[in-house]
């Protein structure tokens, strides 16, 4: 049995011996691991993470954050690596033809590993189970990934397409969660609104009801709501007139929770993640909470013969609704960081980024070249879904959801647990 500082020199009882043996036997048999085992887990660095979330300021649009540089970016003259680029992303979030074009241009192979939710994605990355060159986190994880020293800063000279093609809010001064875009580039932007079947609700009625559509008894058992606590509670906060989409007010969260339970128990709403793009086109749902990209991409799921104009999308006319974006980052341990920079630049290319969106994703990139009216006139977005197209103004008027403190997150999750348990 390895020596343990807490082991008493006097004779141990058989129970003590077995108890301590088991604890140490399960731990890694290295000196470093044994030293780490001396102190209580969770109070020192684990997996590269450091404590100090209490000291770190949570980034907000009116309180933007410049992330610390943990190392120098790779030099501009680093040669582009060959071989296989490991991309760690959500499933079905990239167009295979765009990936193929990247592979052909650089003579490499792209290996795409997926995760089902951000917690799973982060867990595997932190534990080192996935070796990724490129990762797609949500904005609320960026600061934490930097604090845990799991990301590398970007060399801006290698990603000229960001400044050339993207909205200024993402490159100058940079997004509020990463001023100067030191670690991240934007991938897609989206609003969260209410999708509906236009053959069952007319546009004027939908516009008049807005968020109340979920509670309309005319659509009992035909309502879908996102099985995602930030989107679900966030939307009900707005419905109640709470404009802080990161609210830490227990009363406001409680009210939002009650509204969701009312929607489920009173109007037969179901929590799904594919309600908009898979079920609404089939007619199973009439009303569905929806990200803008889901409803734009839903046309590919319409049964044969069903016209595109059955799909409708409501979002507040004053653009004061939920808005967000996804990002692309390069993990610190990326085996091919130079090639990864090329990948980021490729997806920020006017042509390839647009192809990824228009021919597959439905999720719009924040390009200055994308003119909402042109998207409609080109048929990329049906005219009935014009409200699903974003412009830069969305990011000044909309409500962004950022990282929550541990206590606030616990409030949200407690409410969500009650919803999941049936109320």
């Amino acid at each position: 049995m390895s020596a343990h500082p807490r082991q008493r020199p006097s004779a141990l009882s058989r129970r003590d011996f077995l108890r301590r043996s088991l604890g140490v036997a399960v731990a890694l048999p290295s000196a470093a691991a044994i030293l780490a085992a001396c102190s209580k887990p969770g109070t020192t660095s684990s997996g590269g993470a450091t404590t100090g979330t209490g000291a770190r300021v949570l980034a907000r649009p009116d309180d933007p954050v410049t992330l610390p540089m943990t190392q120098d970016p790779i030099p501009t003259d680093t040669p582009i690596e060959g071989g296989t680029l490991n991309v760690y992303n959500w499933d079905a979030y990239m167009y295979k033809k765009t990936l193929k074009a990247f592979e052909d241009e650089y003579g490499v192979t792209v290996e795409w590993t997926t995760f089902n939710n951000m917690e799973e994605g982060i867990q595997k990355l932190v534990a080192g189970q996935v070796e990724a060159d490129v990762f797609f986190p949500t904005t609320d994880y960026i600061a934490r990934l930097v604090e845990a020293d799991l990301m590398q800063p970007l060399n801006h000279e290698l990603i000229p397409n960001l400044a050339a093609n993207c909205w200024p809010v993402f490159n100058d001064p940079g997004p509020y969660y990463d001023l100067g875009w030191r670690y991240s580039v934007p991938y897609t932007i989206y609003t969260t609104g209410v999708a509906y079947r236009r053959d069952r609700i007319d546009d004027a009625a939908a516009a008049a009801k807005g968020y109340e559509l979920f509670f309309d008894p005319a659509f009992k058992d035909e309502v879908s709501y996102y099985d995602s606590y930030r989107d679900a509670i966030g939307m009900m906060l707005l419905r109640d007139g709470v404009t802080d989409a990161n609210s830490s007010d227990p009363a406001a969260i409680g009210k939002a929770k009650d509204a969701i339970l009312d929607m489920i128990n009173g109007n037969g709403a179901r929590l799904t993640i594919n309600g908009t793009y898979a079920k609404l086109p089939e007619g199973e749902f009439s009303v569905s909470e929806s990200w803008s990209g889901d409803i734009v991409g839903a046309k590919y799921y319409l049964p044969k013969g069903t016209p595109e104009d059955v799909l409708g999308y409501w979002y507040p006319e004053d653009k004061r609704g939920l808005v967000g974006n996804d990002t692309i980052v390069i993990p610190k341990a990326a085996p091919k960081p130079r090639l990864a920079h090329e990948f980021l630049n490729f997806f920020l290319d006017k042509h390839w980024g647009y192809q990824n969106f228009a021919d597959w994703n439905g999720y719009q990139p924040p390009f200055t070249s994308i003119v909402p009216d042109k998207l409609v006139s080109d048929g990329v977005v049906p005219s009935t879904l014009a409200s699903a197209v974003l412009d830069e103004k969305n990011f000044t008027t909309g409500y962004l959801q950022g990282e929550l403190s541990a206590d606030t997150d616990a409030l949200w999750l407690d409410a969500w647990n009650e919803i999941q348990a049936g109320g």
């Binding site: 917690e119 982060i122 997150d409 348990a421 049936g422």
Partner: protein
């Protein structure tokens, strides 16, 4: 005979014992028990170690940065705080976890009963009357398992749509379309569909082994068909019934994707609570605590089963 070892003998096999004694072969005391070693290793690696990890997660903590579960392997650092908080969600305040637990007990009870009634009928027919067709029937019963359970439940999800084939078929006899998804009856029938083969096969095994002569003796002594069934077949198949009930009900307690696909949050089961906690940041210890509480709960039917099989072995 050397101390610490024993000569292997079997009553009634005098010839072999004499042969061994003549040859001088004797086995050490640990020899025959050592044959259990592969099984013990299997149990240790695939049950005890993972169970210890569950304990370490339940009584552990979370990483302060990402709030991922941080197992604490040293028992002296274990904390019962989260376990206590989880238990309180069943017993005090709004008791938000109590409803899913009661629902699970009801759904599992109902589904197991339906599995028993339907499964017994099928097993009885197959064992007693199917004759040369019995193996074909058994193969047909098992063949759906060649397709993953998830795919089969997805298929049912499609069939049970408001405009699905089930409603179309019911519409032929004048029934108006029913909303199936999200209803308790759909979840119960989904569980029955998924687990009934686990009831049929053990029952078939027991019913098939019942000695025909016992049944004939019952008839000879004046019992009618039903009486023979009630007083001979049914008692003899009791171990099979208990085995079948245990085999179907235990996994049902932890089932979550049947409700995910065919139900809704208002029909959420215990497994959905665990699934939800596993997927949320900061809730790892709560998920572990829920698993431990479930283990204690299902110990009750397990202990009854063990006691009942031990009694039957002793009686035999």
């Amino acid at each position: 005979m050397a101390s610490g070892s024993q000569t292997v003998t079997r009553p009634g096999r005098r010839g072999r014992r004499d042969a061994r004694e003549r040859s001088g072969v004797s086995y050490p005391r640990w020899y025959w028990p050592s044959f259990t070693f592969p099984g013990i290793l299997w149990l240790a690696v695939l049950f005890i170690l993972p169970f210890y990890v569950v304990l370490s997660v339940a009584f552990g903590t979370v990483d302060p940065l990402f709030r991922l579960p941080l197992p604490v392997y040293q028992p002296w650092w274990w904390s019962l705080d989260t376990f206590q908080t989880t238990l309180e969600k069943f017993t005090s305040g709004d008791r938000i976890y109590l409803d899913p637990l009661i629902r699970t007990l009801v759904y599992v009870g109902l589904s197991s009963l339906i599995c028993l009634v339907l499964g017994y009928s099928v097993a009885y027919y197959t064992a007693r009357y199917a004759g040369r067709w019995r193996w074909l029937i058994l193969v047909l019963l098992i063949s759906p398992f060649w397709i993953s359970y998830l795919m089969r439940i997805y298929a049912w999800q499609s069939l049970l749509q408001p405009d699905g084939y089930v409603n179309d078929a019911l519409g032929v006899v004048g029934v108006t379309p029913i909303i199936w998804i999200g209803r308790p009856i759909t979840v119960v029938l989904g569980l029955v569909y998924g687990y009934i083969p686990f009831m049929i096969l053990p029952l078939f095994g027991f019913l098939d082994r019942i000695d025909q002569h016992l049944l004939e003796a019952g008839r000879d002594l004046g019992a009618g068909s039903f009486q023979t069934f009630r007083r001979v077949t049914l008692p003899l198949s009791k171990p099979g019934i208990i085995a079948g009930l245990v085999i179907v009900s235990l996994p049902m307690f932890g089932d979550y994707f049947t409700n995910n696909l065919l139900g809704s949050t208002s029909t959420s089961m215990y497994g959905n609570l665990i699934d939800s906690a596993v997927g949320q940041a900061g809730q790892g210890p709560e998920a572990g605590s829920l698993v431990l509480i479930l283990i204690v709960l299902v110990m009750i039917p397990m202990l009854y089963y063990l006691r009942s099989t031990r009694r039957s072995t002793e009686a035999a």
